[in-house]
């Protein structure tokens, strides 16, 4: 079975439940289609534009509209058996480029289940082969759910059941058919990681000046007004050109290779004790402000957004090398170690732990001792 068919087989039961519970609204779907209009036309006389026309989409083999030049990926997917219907469209529209790897459709994906349902209802109205059987199947499902789903649970209707796939459904993905497909909303809720190439950056923007306000309210208490850190809380700024010093200061400015790490980390973990409380705009503003604290940007009006994010170069971006421990002689030679008379003379103590007396219960509070990371 092609991976598309495998993926779809399991989406089916879940979608039925979701559709059954949510009224699809073709009119609302027309609005959602605004997001597609830049590239697609549907309706009488529709022509290919950037993307193929979408009349009679339901039941169409992927990559088969006459006169449109598809990417090899889409053509191959069609040849592999991918046909457009509720399930496959759902999967494609949530994440086009991961469902059809190599598709040239430059569209990030729709996150809301409801939007997709409505959009599909809208597109169905331009398809003569709209997948009727699924609606029939949906009914018994709906009925069997009805008594259990008490009215007060209405808001949960769109949320898939907490256990795996509905008991009546037999999933066919993978080997053991365990688990259930994640919804777009669920993935969006958790998948907030950002990569150096900008993948994962959300919409939004924030200026240095906005960041300064947030920072002094929510960050300075630990990280210091200038990112210099209070006590043993982490340093966020300074230390440029200290990496070869006896006591290097590894800060965002002096050490971190990528700005994406700053955004990603602040968004997922800070402020300490109240993670995930910042808006995406707040995080842009704070990231801009941290750049400012490190003199990487100098203009208070500087605004950071998805558009200029990857253009920011970090001072130590070339400071990292891959693991080459194996090239160190003591590893490389793997020599049979010496057993007798290996070192001249008798051992002399050159340093005591007691001299530094940083032993936990010592009187010394460890001031000046290296900190653990």
């Amino acid at each position: 079975m092609s991976r598309f068919l495998k993926a779809l087989a399991v989406l089916a039961p879940f979608l039925i439940t979701a559709n059954g519970a949510t009224a699809q609204d073709a009119d609302a779907g027309a609005k959602v289609f605004n997001k597609c209009k830049a590239c697609h036309v549907v309706g009488e006389g529709a022509k290919h534009r950037v993307g193929p026309e979408l009349n009679d989409l339901f039941g169409r083999t992927a990559g088969s509209a006459e006169g449109y030049k598809y990417s090899p990926a889409m053509t191959t997917a069609g040849e592999g058996g991918l046909v457009w219907n509720d399930e496959s469209l759902h999967a494609y529209l949530v994440a086009p480029r991961s469902f059809v790897k190599g598709t040239k459709m430059a569209f990030a994906g729709l996150k809301k289940q409801e939007e997709i349902d409505n959009l599909l209802a809208f597109l169905k109205s331009y398809s003569s082969d709209a997948a009727a059987p699924q609606e029939e199947e949906a009914k018994p499902e709906e009925k069997s759910e009805a008594p259990a789903a008490a009215p007060e649970k209405k808001t949960e209707a769109e949320i898939p059941p907490p256990s795996a796939a509905p008991a009546t459904a037999v999933a066919t993905h993978g080997v053991f058919h365990l688990g259930r497909p994640a919804t777009g909303d669920e993935i969006a809720a958790w998948d907030i990681d950002v990569r150096p190439d900008g993948q994962g950056l959300p919409d939004g923007r924030g200026t240095v000046a906005q960041g300064e306000v947030l920072y002094s309210d929510q960050c300075a208490a630990c990280h210091g007004d200038f990112g210099e850190a209070i006590g043993r809380w982490p340093v966020l700024a300074g230390g440029l050109d200290t990496l070869t010093n006896d006591r290097p200061v590894k800060s965002i400015g002096s050490y971190w290779p990528y700005l994406s790490t700053v955004y990603d980390y602040i968004r997922r973990s800070m402020p300490f004790g109240d993670a995930r409380s910042l808006s995406d705009d707040d995080v842009y503003a704070l990231t801009a402000y941290v750049l400012y604290l490190n003199d990487i940007v100098t203009d208070e009006d500087f605004e950071l957004s998805r558009d200029n994010f990857t253009a920011v170069d970090m001072p130590n971006k070339d400071g990292f090398i891959d693991d080459d421990r194996l090239s160190e002689t003591h590893y490389a030679d793997k020599a049979e170690p010496c057993m007798k008379d290996c070192r001249p003379g008798t051992a002399e103590i050159t340093a005591h732990a007691a001299v530094l007396d940083v032993t936990p219960d010592g009187e010394d509070d460890g001031e000046g001792a290296p900190s653990i990371e």
């Binding site: 990569r195 790490t261 793997k334 170690p337 940083v358 032993t359």
Partner: protein
């Protein structure tokens, strides 16, 4: 029972007790009637003890109350993002009891309700999936004993001898039996796309820890574990679910595991850029230094385990481990690395697990410089600290597997030292 709360107090207590024992050993035969431990009826010999349900879960003897994880308060700003250490000196065999496994959290211990816990797989997969704990229990399970070592274990010692006790110098390691599901089964369930080359585990705690793991490793031996030493993971070890990345640095073993994303490139998360990169003397830093190198430490005698019995028969014991596989040999030196003898490995020898070694000898009461040197099945030999510093400088923080020296004074007191 020992009620001392400080190490010094404990050490003193230990020494006094030891001295008392030694005295008893010498004097007892001369005493009329013999050892009161024998000649007098003890309370426990006379009165019944507590009933079966006095401690439904069970805990160690009150006499062992000093055996506990300990932290070094000034190492970090806040105990919520901090570390404590396994009392290696008190343990034997290769298994670490669950309650003694060192802790390292970045946002405290998450109290996760297993009913509400989900594991998501997304990214470059055919079908992004969500599993409940109940779903995970339906996959084929495996049991494996692995050590987990924090890459910063012994990190304090780069600049020279610092902390007086193997609990502090080497206590960021533990070894338990994990029960879990091979990560490759979970990934296969979602179907990794051909472009997928990396896997990013993410924690459900307030630090939402992430790391990038090459797909090869993920498919090789990683486990998604829910049990340690037969019981549910302890909260501080990631209950209800953690990743097990055998032989690789502990930070990657993401606790409270809630998500696995497949991608075509690494993410360069904070814990693989700002942290867990090894700064070299030339100002460049190594990144993605995942494997934990061959290493060993003598756990007794050690600063917290002085020799209290005087001259004569002495048991030296310690632990050895390697991220490259099994330990094939451990040598010990009593004279600071001048001469070595091969120690006796005892107990199971399992890949990427702790190994226990012993060396029994007659102590003549002279000063000793104890060292141990492990060799793994790949042929890697544990280096000296000098060798490491010569190539890396003293600012690496991570991956210090240098040979540890304990100085045993004539009175049996043991100290962490550096020697010529």
């Amino acid at each position: 029972m020992t009620k001392t709360s400080t190490r010094r107090g404990f050490m003193k207590g230990g020494l006094t007790a030891g001295a008392a024992l030694a005295t008893a050993g010498l004097v007892a035969p001369a005493r009329a009637g013999g050892d009161p431990a024998i000649t007098e009826i003890q309370d426990w010999n006379r009165y019944s003890g507590a009933g079966v349900d006095a401690s439904p879960y069970g805990k160690p003897s009150d006499f062992e109350a000093h055996v506990m994880r300990r932290n070094v308060a000034w190492l970090t700003a806040d105990p919520v993002s901090s570390v404590n250490f396994t009392p290696l000196h008190e343990l034997d065999g290769i298994i670490t009891p669950n309650g003694l496994c060192f802790e390292r959290h970045h946002a405290g211990v998450a109290e996760v309700d297993p009913q509400q816990h989900r594991l998501m797989i997304n990214g470059l997969v055919d079908t992004p999936l969500v599993f409940t704990m109940a779903d995970l229990m339906r996959f084929p399970r495996e049991n494996h004993i692995y050590f987990l070592e924090c890459a910063a274990n012994s990190g304090m010692e780069w600049r020279g001898a610092q902390l007086n006790g193997c609990q502090y110098t080497h206590g960021m390691v533990h070894c338990v039996m994990y029960t879990g599901v091979k990560l490759k089964h979970l990934l296969a369930e979602a179907g990794v796309k051909t472009a997928g080359k990396w896997v990013m585990p993410e924690g459900a705690d307030a630090s939402a820890m992430t790391r990038s793991i090459p797909l090869e490793k993920a498919m090789e031996d990683c486990l998604v574990a829910f049990k340690m030493n037969g019981e549910a993971l302890r909260p501080e070890q990631g209950y209800p679910l953690r990743l097990v990345v055998p032989g690789w640095e502990g930070n990657m073993w993401v606790k409270w595991l809630r998500r696995l994303e497949v991608g075509d490139e690494p993410w360069h998360a904070r814990e693989e850029t700002s942290k867990y990169t090894d700064l070299l003397a030339n100002g460049k830093a190594r990144r993605f230094t995942w494997v934990m190198d061959v290493k060993s430490v003598i756990t007794s005698p050690s600063p917290q385990m002085p020799i209290t019995h005087g001259k004569g028969r002495t048991v030296l014991t310690g632990l050895a481990w390697s991220g490259a596989g099994k330990i094939s040999r451990v040598d010990v030196s009593l004279d600071g690395g001048r001469n070595w003898v091969t120690a006796r490995l005892d107990g199971p020898s399992l890949t990427k697990a702790l190994h226990r070694f012993y060396h029994e000898f007659d102590w003549d009461g002279s000063e000793l410089f104890l060292q141990s040197r492990a060799i793994d099945e790949a042929g890697f030999v544990q280096p000296t600290k000098q060798e490491l510093r010569a190539v890396r400088g003293a600012n690496s923080i991570y991956h210090n597997n240098g040979i540890q020296t304990w100085h045993v004074a004539k009175d049996g007191v043991v100290e962490n030292v550096e020697i010529s």
